[in-house]
Symmetry: C2
Subunit: 303 residues, 2 copies
């Protein structure tokens, strides 16, 4: 019989400072997937940013090992002294977020991030900064703050107490620069198209629902115009679907839209959504007290 | 990179006429799970019914092979001449439904059922009747009709044209009797608790929403009283969630309840639900034009 023990899944989305030499990217991806049990979901390179993003998943242990393998390979293949691109960056492996997907908490992802950070600092001699949930100093939660001055600026400033790394040497690695490692919740990119072409209404709704201007925590929102469709849109990032679920955000948008006599025409989901967020949504609207993964046939098969 | 090709999953829920000798049930389950790739989800035995239900899943090919292995083993271990129990039955393996779960149509499950039926008839010399979606005669769609007279009655009547089996010999197997094989959609057992203790209202709503009395096709509904909770309930089986989705049923219940000034207090889901039904529900209430399996992180990992 099945134990009913859910699979533990962590996602890792490292960004590497190479988006032009496809052979280099392929070798880094190969190092990552050389760890048994790791599953590659996606990778994409951007030539103008000169940067690649790799998405892979697996158990906490496998994902941690695969991330280290990728960082080590990138150190050997990428030289920050030669690197140019439009996107801000500090190192060969620029940023490594760990994301809890199933059966794992954000706290466990913080532990993975810090353990990896220590190892990268000690074994690879690359200075490491912890960010977001894994930040060890409050002024390092925000990635943009950590990356200030980029590789070239950090190289000069890393000796100052303000820029001292959380792990590893207080000098940038001669080729690999520095690396930022952290943990964050899965992000849900969710847009609401309004039954109006008046972008001012979308902007007012965005201001009402986003946390920064008094609305819901964990919601980032902008009012934008979709020129091709001639439709105003509330474009949102939901950065913690557990504390601030999708349905609560949508219902607030619907309420705010109603005061202008504007309906929601349709919505769109950009990218992926965790199963738990889908289950919470269905449970809310069906008035089920709880809809668990163990009630979904496929999850019973897969978990 | 992942091909994006979804896994093909069929569920099979055979019922065997043995619910007391646990060693016999264990041997039948072992025969089923001896097929590589088949995953056992559940099995349960009922002593008074003297009957066991096994639930397993896998690819169409694996599930078909495992069902045959179970039927063959049951033929060797169960003697219908010695079998007594409260539940109606025709044979050692009494009934074998195939259920499409993912990436498979009902029509493909009909093909599996008929191919297996032919093989059981020819190789095991057990007469086989096809039922539900796989029925080859309209009067055999309904399982109760096929099982009329049970094993003892069929033994005498099987020589008549009316009871001629769809596959296999026109005589019951000396120990295994006869077997009923078919295909059906997954069934969703969904109950709605009303904000009233007046069971008459639940009965009126049930009559309005069920297909047999003019409501929605593929919905079976009864109004019942939950004595322990002092709550009236609309108890439903949704037998085709693709053609008649959960949200449409619930919205009709809410509308009908509103005419009596009664709210829906909460709902309950008994047993399992297919992922596609959850996705359809979330998409409807979120106003997403479509929410596909390929947008769910876990499905991307598992499929």
């Amino acid at each position: 019989m099945d134990s009913g023990q859910a699979q533990r899944i962590v996602e890792c989305v490292p960004n590497f400072s190479e988006g032009r030499r496809s052979q280099v990217v392929a070798e880094i991806v190969a190092a990552i997937t050389s760890v048994q049990g790791v599953k590659l979901l996606d990778f994409s390179s951007d030539a103008s940013h000169n940067r690649s993003v790799v998405t892979f998943v697996g158990t906490p242990e496998d994902v941690e090992a695969a991330a280290f393998a990728g960082i080590e390979r990138a150190r050997d293949l990428i030289d920050m002294e030669q690197h140019h691109g439009e996107h801000p960056r500090l190192g060969a492996t620029d940023v490594v977020p760990f994301v809890p997907i199933a059966g794992v908490t954000t706290e466990e992802c913080v532990e993975i991030a810090r353990r990896l950070g220590r190892r990268v600092g000690e074994e690879l001699q690359i200075p490491v900064y912890m960010y977001e949930e894994a930040a060890m100093r409050p002024d390092r939660r925000n990635l943009a703050d950590v990356r200030r001055g980029e590789y070239e600026g950090l190289k000069a400033a890393i000796g100052t107490p303000e820029r001292a790394p959380d792990y590893g040497p207080a000098a940038v690695h001669p080729t690999a620069g520095a690396t930022v490692i952290g943990a964050r919740m899965p992000l849900i990119a969710f847009n609401v198209n309004l039954g109006t072409s008046d972008v001012e209404i979308a902007k007012k709704i965005a201001k009402a629902v986003r946390g920064s201007s008094g609305g819901l925590a964990n919601v980032k929102a902008l009012g934008v115009m979709l020129d091709d469709k001639h439709v105003a849109q509330v474009s949102m990032n939901l950065v913690n679907y557990v504390k601030t679920p999708v349905h609560r955000v949508l219902e607030m948008v619907r309420r705010e839209a109603a005061r202008y006599g504007v309906p929601v025409a349709e919505t769109e989901l950009i990218g992926l959504i965790p199963l738990d967020a889908v289950l919470d949504t269905a449970a809310y609207y069906l008035q089920l007290p709880k809809l668990g993964r163990n009630q979904v046939i496929e999850a019973r098969i897969w978990d």
